[in-house]
Each structure stands twice: as structure tokens, then as C-alpha cells.
């Protein structure tokens, strides 16, 4: 059968690539932020897939802790990005 870690790891890489491409190419700022978040989820997925050791054994807690902090930082960074965008909009008067 397919190795679970490899399957999710590859999906993580694919998501990160999709997110990164859209981060570079997307003109609209809010969607750029979405793309950055999707890229982040891809990287988290790669890390959690690396930590996974099978359906019956406990996974690696160090990587889980890292991802946990990553999620909180990602949401605060997104909020900062949105605030910057709002400010820019106010300033342009558009």
C-alpha cells in the first residue's frame, strides 16, 4: 500500500508549491495572504507527515509543538497583513 507519511508529505510539497506560485503571481493582496497561508499549511503538513509513525504508535511531539506555534504565528501575521492592506486602501482613497 501507499506509505502514509510519503503521501501526505508529497501533498504538503504540492500545496506549498501552489501557494508559493500564487503568492508571487496573484495581484490581489487578500488573496496573496490566502496563498501564503496555503503555503504555510503545506509546510505544516510536511512536518506532521514526518512526525507520523503509524496508526498505532504515538507521533513525534517536537514537530507537533513547532506546528502549533506556527499556526498561531500565521494567524497573527495574516491579521497584520490585513491591517496593512486596509491602511493602504485608506491612504489611496480607493
Amino acid at each position: 500500500m501507499i506509505d502514509t507519511g510519503v503521501l501526505y508529505g508529497l501533498t504538503g510539497v504540492a500545496l506549498a508549491a501552489m501557494g508559493f506560485r500564487a503568492t508571487l503571481l496573484e495581484p490581489e493582496v487578500i488573496r496573496k495572504l490566502l496563498a501564503i497561508n496555503i503555503m504555510g499549511v503545506g509546510i505544516f503538513l510536511l512536518m506532521i507527515a514526518t512526525a507520523y509513525t503509524g496508526p498505532d504508535t504515538a507521533a513525534d511531539p517536537v514537530l507537533h509543538a513547532l506546528v502549533l506555534t506556527g499556526i498561531v504565528v500565521a494567524v497573527s501575521a495574516t491579521a497584520l497583513g490585513l491591517a496593512l492592506e486596509r491602511r493602504r486602501r485608506d491612504k489611496d482613497g480607493s
Binding site: 503521501l7 510539497v13 495581484p27 512526525a51 507537533h64 491579521a79 490585513l82
Partner: protein, 322 residues
């Protein structure tokens, strides 16, 4: 039979993830992009649960499926409606069609390289080493949940710095000014929803904080749940989102870092080294730090959502607002 079922489940979840991510990046309007992204966060929480990462799943369920969605949807609300329907071209663009192709090709090449590394490097025996170390030191940490042990004992520095990052982001947002002055209309369904949802959220946050010592849960999850309670209050028409004002609010903002630094200095002056707790009290100290970290995280996330501090004076004469 069972491995086959697991593979089916995995493939279905992976399809859902990629489908939603692609659709979110491609949807015609921003609003639809955001809804698809919320659904993506939900499926992500499922994937964390399936990969035996309950701590991460809890945080994702609270933040990815709840807070980020509310944050993004509320950001759209202040825009003119036709603008949110048709995506505007106002950001930076990279040189034309050929630039587009070049970026796509190079990103794909990098992804293929990393994918190759994943394919051949995943089953490396090295990866279990840190987990083994955590397992053998767990009983010294004062808690029995390994993730909490890593976050608040073994790598407490990281968590302290993370709280600093959160505070930095918050200060950035507050210094930009001009936050979300609009508040929501009062509506009977939202009000009744608030009536039972807010107490339940606060209760669950308390439970998560307490249970984090020996089972998945902890300060981040509890903080996110408390923040969600604030967001619900705001959505139901309370401009303050349940936050205190003035000095109390600012003390709460820095309380997480404050208690961490106090503990660190205390253990340092006691000759043990920065943030090296005495083993006998480690459990209690961790709970104390987590309590303040929860409050700080909750206040920070609510303020990130609001975009500005609630105004100091609540009672203003009607119609006097500019």
C-alpha cells in the same frame, strides 16, 4: 482490508485538500475564495486528526476553521460590494506572460526536487531521535502531555519568543491605526447564539487549559477559544468584544511575556538557569504560566481581529460620535 481502507481515506482527504486549495486560489470573487479557504481549514483539521496530531488539530479547529475565517470575512465587509465580486488589479505584478511561465516552471522544479527528497528521505531512522529524548525526559517535566512538555519546559524559550512575535504583530496592527470602527447590527438570532455560545466557549477554554497538562490541549488552544468568544460577542453587536479597556487591557497584552520573564529571572537568580524550573513545582509553575499566556493570546487575537483598541469611554452622548 484495514490498510486498504486507510489508503482510501488518505487519498480522499488529499483530494479534498488539493481541490479546495486550488479552488480557493482560483475562485472568481474574493468572498468565494475566503469561503473555500475556510473549508480548506476544516479539512486540514481532519488531516491533523487522522495523522494523530490532536494538539495541532485542536488549534487548527479553533484558529483555521474559526478565527481566520471571521478575520478575512470581516476584512471584506468594509469594501464596496462590486469590488469584492470582481478581483481588482492593484497589487504588484511580475512581468507579463513570460514572467508567469518562468515562475510556474521554476516553482515546479523546486517542488519536484523537494518531492524527490521526501520520497526517498522520509523513512530515515534519524527522525525518531528527538521524540525518544522527549519520551525519556517526560517525567521530569511536571506534565504528562509531551507537546505541553516541549512547549513550556524543554523549549520554553521558543514559546516566550513566540509570545514576543505575537505582541510585535499586535503592536504593528495597533500602530497602523484606523481599525474596524464599524460594529454589527443587533439581530435576534445572533444575540441568542451569543447567549449560549459565549459561556460554552469560555468553559471549553478553561477545560482545555486544565487538561493540557496530561492530554492534548493547552494555552494556545484555550487562548484561541477565548478569542473566539470575543469574536462572537463582536459579531452579535458588542463593539467591545468583551474586552476591558485602558490600562487593564494593556497589562493583559503583555501578561504572557511578563509572567514568563518573571519566572525566568526568578529561576535564574535562584541559580538554576533561565526558565529551568525546580522539578518539584514544575507542574504548578507551568499551569500558572499557561494561565497568563492564555489570557495574553486571547486578548492579542481579539485585538488582531478588531484592528484597534476599543474606545476608552463607553458612554458617549447619542449622536456625538464623529
Amino acid at each position: 482490508m484495514n490498510t486498504l481502507s486507510w489508503s482510501f481515506l488518505d487519498i480522499l482527504l488529499v483530494i479534498a485538500l488539493v481541490l479546495l486549495a486550488g479552488a480557493a486560489l482560483r475562485a472568481r470573487s474574493l468572498r468565494q475564495s475566503i469561503i473555500l479557504f475556510i473549508a480548506f481549514g476544516l479539512v486540514t483539521a481532519l488531516v491533523w486528526a487522522r495523522l494523530r496530531a490532536p494538539d495541532v488539530a485542536l488549534a487548527e479547529a479553533a484558529i483555521g476553521a474559526g478565527l481566520t475565517g471571521a478575520l478575512l470575512l470581516t476584512a471584506l465587509r468594509n469594501r464596496p460590494s462590486e469590488e469584492s465580486r470582481l478581483v481588482s488589479n492593484n497589487g504588484m505584478r511580475w512581468g507579463g506572460r513570460w514572467g508567469n511561465v518562468a515562475i510556474t516552471v521554476s516553482v515546479s522544479l523546486v517542488a519536484l526536487g523537494i518531492g524527490w527528497a521526501v520520497l526517498y528521505g522520509m523513512n530515515d531512522t534519524q527522525s525518531g531521535r528527538l521524540a525518544g529524548q522527549v519520551g525519556s525526559a517526560l517525567e521530569l517535566s511536571g506534565v504528562s502531555n509531551p507537546v505541553t512538555a516541549v512547549l513550556l519546559n524543554f523549549r520554553a524559550y521558543d514559546t516566550l519568543l513566540e509570545l514576543a512575535v505575537l505582541l510585535a504583530a499586535l503592536l504593528g496592527i495597533l500602530s497602523l491605526g484606523g481599525g474596524r470602527a464599524t460594529h454589527c447590527t443587533v439581530d435576534p438570532i445572533a444575540t441568542s447564539l451569543r447567549g449560549w455560545l459565549v459561556p460554552l466557549l469560555i468553559l471549553t477554554a478553561g477545560y482545555q487549559l486544565w487538561v493540557g497538562a496530561h492530554a492534548p490541549g493547552g494555552a494556545f488552544q484555550a487562548g484561541a477559544l477565548l478569542a473566539a468568544a470575543g469574536v462572537v460577542q463582536h459579531l452579535a453587536g458588542r463593539a467591545h468584544a468583551g474586552l476591558p479597556v485602558g490600562a487593564v487591557l494593556r497589562v493583559l497584552m503583555v501578561s504572557g511575556i511578563g509572567i514568563f520573564m518573571t519566572m525566568g529571572l526568578w529561576t535564574f537568580l535562584g541559580g538554576r538557569g533561565f526558565l529551568a524550573y525546580p522539578q518539584r513545582w514544575a507542574g504548578e509553575l507551568i499551569l500558572l504560566i499557561e494561565l497568563f499566556a492564555t489570557l495574553a493570546i486571547a486578548v492579542t487575537l481579539i485585538l488582531c481581529y478588531l484592528g484597534s483598541e476599543p474606545e476608552r469611554r463607553r458612554i458617549t452622548p447619542a449622536g456625538s460620535k464623529p
